[in-house]
Symmetry: C2
Subunit: 137 residues, 2 copies
């Protein structure tokens, strides 16, 4: 619920409205690690039978603008969303398809300059086989 409180404040400050759907979606993101829009939609459907995907996408966009979540492009053809505020990267297992958080420092960092380019955001995607699948085979 911690994120919910923070979101309410941020929405108010920026003149956005506080709606049940927006609060519910941030709750999901606190609960699940890297959901897709579809997963969020399906999780909310029992409680919000009238919910539409448009609202899910709209809300995710607002949350991204507020800096509350980031969009992850590690999987082809589907975006995942992440509310983990700590700087970290992602690993996708090609066997089980699960996404793991990876906390490793790299020399690349937001705020730095590289060849004259100003870096604002860094996304690192790792691909391979996760620990569980390595043992399982």
């Amino acid at each position: 619920m911690e994120k919910r409180e923070k979101l309410i404040m941020q929405l108010r400050e920026r003149g956005f409205k506080i709606t049940p759907q927006r609060l519910a979606i941030i709750d999901i993101l606190e609960e699940i690690k890297h959901p897709s829009a579809e997963e969020i939609y399906k999780m909310l459907l029992p409680d919000y039978p009238m919910l539409s995907m448009a609202t899910v996408y709209n809300t995710l966009e607002v949350l991204k603008e507020l800096g509350e979540i980031t969009k992850i492009g590690i999987k082809p053809n589907v975006a995942l969303y992440d509310a983990n505020p700590k700087p970290h990267h992602h690993f996708l297992c090609r066997l089980c398809g699960e996404v793991f958080d990876i906390a490793v420092k790299t020399p690349l960092d937001a705020g730095k300059k590289l060849k004259g380019h100003k870096i604002e955001q860094v996304k690192v995607y790792l691909y391979g086989v996760c620990a569980k699948c390595l043992k399982g085979v």
Copy 2:
């Protein structure tokens, strides 16, 4: 043309057929840095008026399997393709939309293990404002 020769050998070795379309597409990738499937299609259309997107995608898949190119997911909703064989990463300028190659070593590397996960591939995407746009403003 260097890549064309290499591709012909690889196609032959692996039992793939050598078609004009496949050779033309590797030529484009040697010529342009990070084209999308659409860009490749449009560049080839004057010379191959009967060309279809299906062939472009099919060929790009074959080239990826042969290890000749990599698919870049730095832009949302569109895949770019890269025939630069040297290990490097990518930077996307949010103002001009251009993609630049960035050669910086990171501690993350294919072949290494991280928290028990076997890393097979690493993709680093940097976002910000490029040198040209920084000056231009």
